[in-house]
Assembly symmetry: C2
């Protein structure tokens, strides 16, 4: 059950001219729905990525990072769901390489121009033959209009596809941003556990695009957490598809700021969509920590709250047992917090003032806010001017069910 | 349901001569069972403590730390369950002070000679009058034989009392160690979330006792985790009750090593008892991480595994989805791990060799081990000679139930 997750309509997803997607059912996932996706990218596009910081990163992540570092013209992505190809050692690398080679041959490009991605079960062998057999089917239906099919093909425990699209107007041209994401468990930053692919149809240099993705990722995908577990396969890819090669987006221009802000919106929407579809989630929780000495400590406090099982179960129960929020702040490992300066609000209502229960605490009023499916916590640390916003979910019986029965 | 938690018999708990306990029902907890405990300590005992590192530490923790620092002769402990007296600001300090004053007056000692402890709901006002009214009842039943009653009175979500007792023989005398603990949720080191009181009837100087408690705590109570949440009220108190004032235990003597080892055993037993009674736990999981560069990194890796909801739910399901263990190791924030050197064993069976699934991996054999209620993971990092052992539980529906319905 996704929480207020906007239903995606195929016609709302604008094409990025030249970027084509094809899906196929390789029989890896459930046998019933497509589980491989090929994204074909036109020549001379810019493609950048950020990846999981889990040291046990999966074979496809190692290859994708390596291929991106070689600064070759990336011409296609291949994504499979149902198997993460992680924890498989050299065999995993070999398997992912075979897949890249196979696709490269079909497309007449070098294997280093392919980026592979996998999501699904860890420590399970990639069914290479199933994938290479299905690649021609995926190539046969390559189409600019396949964004929704693409979003569906990469789902694992997701209950709904996640996609975003918007057109913005610059001074003398229109720009389209369209993207998809997947993920609903093993979600925690560094980078946030998921796959996301966003494309924009304006030429942006790889150097500038790399700057953009790092800045944007830090305050979108890296600000969400379902369960504090960072996956082995997280990848966020940003692509600039040059519709008009005579144009170059210059840093710090008005147009640049508009494009950046639009990509930011896409990343925020797609990262929030992952939380709205969080495994077993019944509540969408926004945690804003302000009055911090810097962004990092604000994020640390927010994440300590987001990842506390006790805070999460209190929200699941709609129980105003909010002392658990204070306890989580105290556990954040941020040194030297002055508890006497900390105020906490729930949906705008003050419940802890100066680090202690507020004299105006109204159990009934707070209790009725706790029942809502959108919760906003505002924490003021009272020692600086920086802030961070984290998005998370509650922790329910359903999370246990999903993760206890994932393989069966 | 506690996992293989030894049933405590009153007659197995040896007295520590001079140390007397009295309990009373102040009506804070459930109305049906005692919820305050007074421990009366003879003059010239040594009393030391370690406390939660949660910055939001509770009022009684602040007072107990302060009183211990004054190095006065501590003459009594007063513990209440049902209310943590945390997140209450100055009011909490005032309330705990009234309780200490009241007990001090009854005992004819200074209020600074009393250490207060509370466990239960956070951000809830301490019912001071109920406690001061009940103190005389507790004092009326002060008795050296009340260890079991003491263990029961401090229970909150615990399903069973936790106590330990042992006699050891030194060269020319016998020594008794007896102790109790409580806790089953909000359990994570720094210091591990719980209350524990251990006494030994041999004179040990405060300085030496302080050294001992720090060393012992680091590898016992600080090595357990139920849910990664560090409570606001954790306290571990070690008391040396001088049965024979002519004797002094000297550091590094044979006797010292024997006593230290015996206190260690008590602390390990009592910390493991908390895990065996972990909220909703169906499995007792021991994680040994060896081959580390130092103890700290071994512990970090162990804790990353212990606190991964995905590892915990896999164990709950008895599902050999053990790639999650590798993923958790990768998330441990220990820099520079060489994945190719990491081996992982489950109940002695190798399942990951050199960072990847073992060629001898036998799903059926591992699956049958996963069904057991005692699980041992051995992780070899292959880069040093240090190790750490962590004890934890799985994550079940029952954990969610207990923590969703804690206040109702």
């Amino acid at each position: 059950m996704a929480i207020n997750l906007k239903k995606i309509l195929k016609q709302d997803l604008n094409v990025i001219k030249g970027l084509r997607m094809g899906v196929a059912n390789a029989g890896i996932k459930d046998g019933a729905s497509p589980d491989i996706l090929v994204i074909s990218i036109p020549e001379k596009s810019s493609v950048v990525g950020v990846f999981t910081q889990n040291q046990f990163c999966a074979a496809p992540v190692l290859i994708a990072k390596d291929n991106l570092e070689q600064k070759r013209d990336i011409r296609a992505l291949i994504i499979n769901s149902g198997c993460a190809n992680a924890g498989m050692g050299q065999e995993g690398i070999d398997d992912a390489t075979i897949v890249c080679k196979s696709l490269a041959k079909h497309l007449g490009v070098d294997q280093k121009q392919i980026l592979p991605f996998s999501t699904g079960l860890i420590m399970s062998k990639l069914p290479v033959k199933k994938i290479t057999d299905a690649i021609p089917n995926a190539l046969n239906n390559l189409n600019e209009n396949n964004w929704l099919e693409a979003a569906e093909s990469i789902m694992t425990t997701d209950t709904a596809p996640k996609a975003y699209s918007k057109k913005i107007n610059l001074k003398d041209r229109d720009v389209t941003i369209t993207g998809i994401s997947k993920g609903s468990g093993m979600i925690h930053p560094n980078m946030a556990t998921m796959l996301s692919f966003i494309a924009v149809d304006i030429p942006i240099s790889s150097i500038l695009l790399k700057e953009l993705i790092i800045e944007i990722c830090e305050e979108s995908f890296n600000c969400i957490s379902v369960d504090g577990d960072t996956s082995t396969n997280d990848s966020f890819i940003l692509m600039s598809i040059p519709s008009d090669k005579s144009f170059i987006l210059r840093k710090n221009s008005d147009d640049y700021e508009k494009v950046k802000s639009a990509i930011f919106d896409a990343a925020i929407f797609l990262s929030q969509a992952i939380i709205r579809d969080g495994e077993g989630a019944t509540k969408f929780i926004t945690i804003n920590v302000n009055g911090a000495l810097n962004h990092k400590e604000a994020k640390k406090v927010g994440m300590a709250i987001a990842n506390s099982p006790l805070v999460k179960t209190a929200f699941f129960a709609s129980d105003a047992n909010l002392g658990r929020v204070l306890s989580a702040i105290g556990n954040s490992q941020v040194k030297g917090l002055d508890l006497n300066k900390i105020d906490v609000y729930l949906n705008g209502i003050l419940f802890a003032k100066a680090g202690a229960i507020s004299s105006s605490f109204d159990e009934i009023k707070i209790g009725s806010e706790m029942k809502k499916d959108e919760i906003k916590l505002d924490i003021s640390l009272g020692r600086g001017t920086h802030e961070a916003t984290i998005w998370t979910t509650d922790l329910s019986y359903k999370y246990i069910e999903i993760n206890s029965e994932y393989r069966t």
